[in-house]
């Protein structure tokens, strides 16, 4: 590792490399979404097979209907699958999530937690 890379890693300017040098998550929210999906599964709220079914449905509907210019964003589908499953299981209504998301989006920039 070069000194430059090491100092960039230490002060957080770049993500640390993951498996075989490739970054698995482009953005922190993707990692959080994956972590949530696994945590809830491990806690027994659903089986991974149920999650997989929602993910397949999301991907299939995108593949059936999207414009040429629209790039495939795997974790968008992953997040949508998770929120679908939460609604399906009656654990978190989509309306409630929409409201909370709007409230968070309206916060002044720089606010966190």
């Amino acid at each position: 590792m070069t000194d430059e890379l090491e100092s960039m890693l230490l002060d957080g300017r770049v993500e640390p490399p993951k498996a075989n040098g490739e970054v698995i998550f482009d953005e922190p929210w993707q990692n959080r979404t994956f972590g949530m999906a696994r945590s809830l599964c491990e806690a027994g709220y659903y089986t991974w097979d149920e999650f997989r079914a929602c993910l397949i449905q999301q991907i299939e509907s995108w593949q059936a209907d999207h414009s040429e210019q629209e790039p495939y964003q795997y974790f968008d589908h992953f997040l949508a699958a998770l929120t679908d499953l939460m609604a399906l299981k009656g654990l978190c209504e989509t309306r409630e999530l929409d409201q909370r998301s709007r409230a968070f989006a309206d916060r002044p920039h720089g606010h966190d937690h």
């Binding site: 300017r13 993951k18 075989n20 979404t33 949530m36 696994r38 993910l55 974790f75 978190c92």
Partner: protein, 213 residues
């Protein structure tokens, strides 16, 4: 890793967050309020996958299979049973099938419907594995796609593509590179790449053997 990611996140607080980032944050806050997630549950899961789950586990199995014929037999006949003693973290290996590359047959792994992958032995899948291009082309035209990915295979070599199902996850047992006689299992494990266990790379003695991992 996790701390680094938090710093990364904070660094960007003054920029506008993406709708997905906001929705993720909103979902987590709601689930914590509802008592479905604990404050640290997600951090713990993320740390576990970042630190303990990865292709080093699969590499260990491959190196052992190369040096231990009895283990190799067990791995090929019932991989889930054969790896039970390792207690690998990460899951998705309840029905693991290991397929062996030979001079006559090359194997590659895909999930055509989504992104199924044997996490406990290979870690989380790379981006290209989840892309529609790989998922469709590895089935439709495996020889052309593998060549594009840097693996031109002789026409005489049969290519078999294994598509993950609801239950089954696959891993490729690559061929042992030449001139690696006398290497220890640890040294051999260091030669085994993740891509060789997905089946989009073969291990070349000349380029990899002897190099530090």
């Amino acid at each position: 890793m996790n701390d680094d990611q938090k710093h990364h996140d904070h660094d960007h607080d003054h920029e506008k967050k993406s709708p997905q980032a906001i929705r993720t944050e909103a979902l987590e806050s709601l689930l914590i309020e509802k008592g479905l997630l604990s404050e640290h549950a997600v951090d713990d899961v993320i740390a576990n996958y970042a630190q303990r789950v990865g292709p080093m586990n699969g590499a260990l199995l491959v190196a052992r299979a190369w040096t231990d014929a009895e283990f190799k037999q067990r791995l090929l006949s019932n991989a889930t049973q054969a790896i039970a003693e390792y207690d690998f973290q990460g899951g998705q290996v309840d029905h693991l099938v290991v397929v062996e590359n030979t001079p006559e047959r090359h194997n590659a792994v895909v999930c055509t419907l989504c992104s199924c992958y044997p996490w406990a032995v290979l870690g989380l899948p790379p981006k290209w594995y989840k892309d529609p291009a790989y998922r469709s082309r590895i089935v439709r035209e495996p020889r052309a796609l593998l060549a594009e990915m840097g693996l031109p295979l002789d026409k005489k070599i049969e290519i078999r593509v294994w598509d993950s199902s609801a239950e089954v996850r696959y891993m490729v047992l690559p061929m042992r590179p030449a001139h690696t006689e006398g290497m220890t299992q640890d040294e051999l494990a260091a030669l085994v790449s993740r891509d060789s266990m997905i089946g989009v790379e073969v291990l070349e003695a000349s380029s990899r053997a002897g190099q530090p991992s």
